[in-house]
């Protein structure tokens, strides 16, 4: 039976991170398709507080005619809360960074990542369908035991912001003296491997052009890794060429894209990689280490490297910035590739995924007939743990409540609330000594995807 309402649940909610923007676009789509739809979260940033409801206000009983979409990118008590309810669940899986990549640098994030993987497995039996951002992510779903899955990219609006004139002017003034500008956008985190980009920069400045600069846009995950990057750059004598602006808003980010010669990625783990698409859309040639979902996202729109040694990255970036034919090709091919991820196409993909989910039926494990859904055929039914119906106690608090060790927005690799900042003081970051960034620097673009 077609549900009247499809609500979304996310551990923490902010407008200006990848998952937050995706959730808002998805809500618009759900409403457009005739469903009623609310966004529920455990903690929300001020700018979206009026657009969501806190799980503490969630009524305990079964809400007939309601389905859930749960956005899973890290471990959170709300996953357990949702698993204890009776309504059908669609898991929207945004990828979880492997804990091994985080443990030495951000142990608490590694803990929540491991909890997220455990919850991914627990929800496999409890959910009726799952959607992955990429085929790479879908493999995680299948490995965790999901039977009905589909792939639909995250919803985001390319080119929504015009470049900030002041930033653009400043960046152009910096370029007046010559030298190429390399750009990478993403959270400063060990799995993003910004340290490898600094190594490559050192090679490029020594062997090609001493005026080469590197811009690393994004907030830090924890404090150790960003500090190590700064010290490393200083030790190599390239600190004046490494720009770490932190989180920036959409207009400033657009200016960074507009003034970049090449987008370079050495990231070892990407579940999708929205900055790769943004760079391609902006006509910035992409050079990326071929890992995880990077190849799937970039397609033929960029140069993918099997080797991410500093020399290989430096040679590739130098080749791209000095070969006009290649630049022209990559700008054109990148834009073609980015066109595959427009908001309109994303909405179509999501509409198809929702059609599959609804055709699959409400039973956990996807027992009913699935139209075009991947996975096992009908009849491979599972038990219905939702019949338990009990709601775990103590999880329904608002920001900072609920007795969790980690407050909302402080949940490791989950971008909702990690990346977007701007006056979120009431969130429980203070538990671990995190300070919200100043207002106005309110966007870390697409950190965890």
């Amino acid at each position: 039976m077609r549900p009247q309402r499809i609500d979304q649940m996310v551990p923490s909610f902010g407008r200006r991170d990848a998952i937050g923007e995706h959730i808002l676009h998805l809500r618009d789509l759900l409403v457009h398709l005739g469903f009623r739809s609310d966004i529920w979260c455990r903690g929300a940033f001020p700018e979206v507080r009026d657009q969501c409801r806190l799980v503490g206000d969630l009524p305990e009983g079964h809400r007939h005619g309601t389905w859930w979409i749960y956005h899973l990118a890290t471990g959170s008590p709300v996953a357990d809360l949702l698993a204890g309810r009776c309504e059908p669940i669609i898991v929207d899986y945004h990828n979880i960074t492997p804990a091994s990549l985080l443990t030495p640098w951000v142990p608490w994030a590694a803990e929540t990542a491991e909890e997220g993987l455990r919850q991914l497995q627990r929800l496999a039996e409890r959910s009726c369908f799952a959607v992955a951002d990429s085929a790479y992510n879908e493999r995680d779903l299948l490995g965790a035991g999901y039977r009905r899955t589909a792939v639909a990219p995250p919803l985001f609006d390319l080119g929504a912001d015009a470049p900030d004139p002041a930033t653009l002017a400043r960046r152009r003034a910096e370029r007046a003296g010559g030298g190429a500008d390399w750009l990478f956008v993403g959270r400063l985190a060990p799995n993003k491997a910004q340290h490898d980009l600094i190594k490559a920069l050192a090679c490029a400045r020594r062997f090609f052009d001493p005026r080469t600069r590197l811009h690393l846009v994004g907030t830090g995950m924890g404090e150790q890794y960003p500090r190590a990057l700064r010290r490393f750059a200083r030790r190599l004598g390239v600190d004046d060429a490494v720009d770490l602006p932190g989180a920036v808003d959409g207009a400033v980010l657009a200016a960074y894209y507009a003034a970049a010669d090449v987008f370079v990625s050495a990231s070892t783990h990407e579940g999708f990689g929205i900055p790769l698409v943004e760079a391609a859309h902006s006509g910035v040639p992409v050079v990326a280490y071929d890992a995880a979902a990077v190849a799937e996202t970039v397609g033929s729109g960029g140069v993918l490297l099997a080797d991410k040694s500093p020399m290989a990255l430096a040679v590739a970036a130098h080749r791209v910035t000095t070969d006009p034919d290649l630049r022209r090709y990559l700008a054109s091919a990148g834009r073609r590739r980015a066109a595959d991820f427009t908001l309109a196409r994303g909405r179509l993909a999501w509409q198809a995924a929702l059609d599959q989910a609804l055709a699959t039926g409400a039973e956990p494990g996807g027992v009913a007939t699935a139209v075009g859904a991947r996975g096992a055929g009908p009849g491979d039914g599972a038990s219905v743990p939702g019949a338990r119906g009990a709601r775990p106690g103590g999880l329904g608090a608002g920001p900072g409540g609920g007795g969790s060790r980690h407050g909302p927005g402080d949940q490791g690799p989950e971008p909702g609330g990690r990346t977007s900042v701007g006056g979120g003081a009431e969130l429980a970051w203070a538990e671990r000594g995190h300070q919200p960034a100043p207002a106005g620097r309110s966007r870390l673009p697409w950190a965890a995807m």
Partner: protein, 369 residues
């Protein structure tokens, strides 16, 4: 976003012959090329046009070739990349993940090899010839030195790997010694109640030098209450059982702490007396010895140590089979405590015991001047 200038690679792919890349035509031609591609066409202006993937594969191969060529020519010395890795490793946290030691070991392995193949290539032929000639002239000497260095570093790394293996064995054995899932603390037997022997304990404490008396793992605090009522300056600690909370709520000076940690934090020879109970019945033998050593250290000369233990049979009956089997240790008989305290140097060892409790009293000797 103009392209940047810089030293062109020796094998500048701009000069490489080959098919025209799909996007390399002039703008008007590019439109035609894209349209042709979309239509499945493969030729523009008489030149073959590669498909996207073939072109990108060729670019990637050319990049790989250039890296190899420059490395072989000595432009990209391996030592430079190695130095970058080592420098960043200095800023990397260590010791927080098991596999991090393995990574550090791999880094050390790579750094322990001295390369004897000196790069002699050069973009200028004459310079390359000079380099090669110098190398030929000095090779016998350099090789002699580097061979010895490599032998030394190989032996050193071999030793490190052997130590790693031995350490792994030790860690494995220690892990086997560790107990499995212990029952919750509150499910263990409560500390023995020395009620019947409170007078004896009080008498020994009063004979001491005075000063604060500590009851380690005091449970519900009934001994603290009794001794306090008798005028002894006493406080208790407990690792957080519900009983201790009750004691604190009753106004007794009971704090949450574990016995060994609390003792270790005290100034030496500060205690006028010490009562140990609870943990001493279930901790491992090494921990008991550690507690006795700490007691000897923290007691003032002439002060009394009272060990309040539960006889093994009574303890097992109270704890139940699960807690008894999974506890790190089993209670000692009072006679065993007496022997251990005597051998540690305590004097005037006195034992009181019945079926439910054993109390061993001992005094830290006053040094003879």
């Amino acid at each position: 976003m103009t392209s940047q200038t810089g030293e062109a690679p020796s094998g500048d792919p701009r000069s490489s012959s080959g098919p025209v890349p799909p996007g390399s035509q002039p703008p008007e031609a590019a439109e035609v090329g894209e349209a042709a591609q979309a239509a499945g066409g493969s030729e523009v202006s008489g030149e073959p046009v590669e498909d996207d993937q073939a072109y990108l594969d060729r670019v990637r191969r050319e990049i790989d070739d250039e890296v190899r060529r420059r490395r072989a020519a000595g432009d990209f010395p391996p030592s430079f990349e190695r130095k970058l890795d080592e420098l960043f490793a200095r800023y990397t946290p260590t010791g927080e993940a098991d596999d991090y030691f393995a990574e550090a070991l791999k880094l050390a392995d790579r750094a322990a090899f001295f390369d004897i193949d000196v790069p002699t290539g050069s973009r200028r032929e004459v310079r390359g010839l000079v380099k090669w000639s110098l190398w030929q002239a000095e090779a016998w000497f350099v090789r002699y030195i580097v061979d010895q260095l490599n032998h030394f570093s190989a032996a050193l790394m071999r030793t490190v790997h052997l130590l790693d293996e031995r350490l792994a064995d030790v860690e494995h054995d220690v892990a086997l010694l560790a107990p499995g899932a212990l029952p919750a603390e509150d499910e263990l037997a409560p500390p023995a109640d020395p009620g019947a022997y409170t007078e004896q304990v009080l008498a020994r404490l009063r004979s001491g030098p005075g000063g604060r008396v500590l009851h380690g793992e005091c449970g519900d605090g009934r001994l603290v209450e009794a001794l306090g009522a008798a005028g002894v300056g006493i406080y208790g600690i407990d690792p957080g059982t519900a009983a201790a909370d009750v004691a604190a709520a009753r106004g007794l000076d009971v704090r949450r702490d574990d016995t060994a940690g609390h003792l270790a934090a005290l100034v030496d020879a500060v205690l006028g007396g010490l009562v140990l109970s609870g943990v001493i019945d279930r901790c491992a033998a090494a921990q008991r010895h550690r507690l006795v050593q700490l007691a000897e250290l923290k007691l003032a000369p002439g002060a009394t140590l009272a060990v309040v233990s539960t006889p093994p049979a009574a303890w097992e009956a109270a704890a139940g089979p699960l807690a008894a089997d999974l506890a790190q240790g089993r209670p000692w008989h009072p006679q065993t405590w007496a022997a251990v305290l005597a051998s540690t140097g305590f004097a005037d060892v006195e034992t009181h015991a019945d079926d439910s409790v054993g109390v061993v009293l001992a005094t830290k000797p006053v040094p003879v001047r």
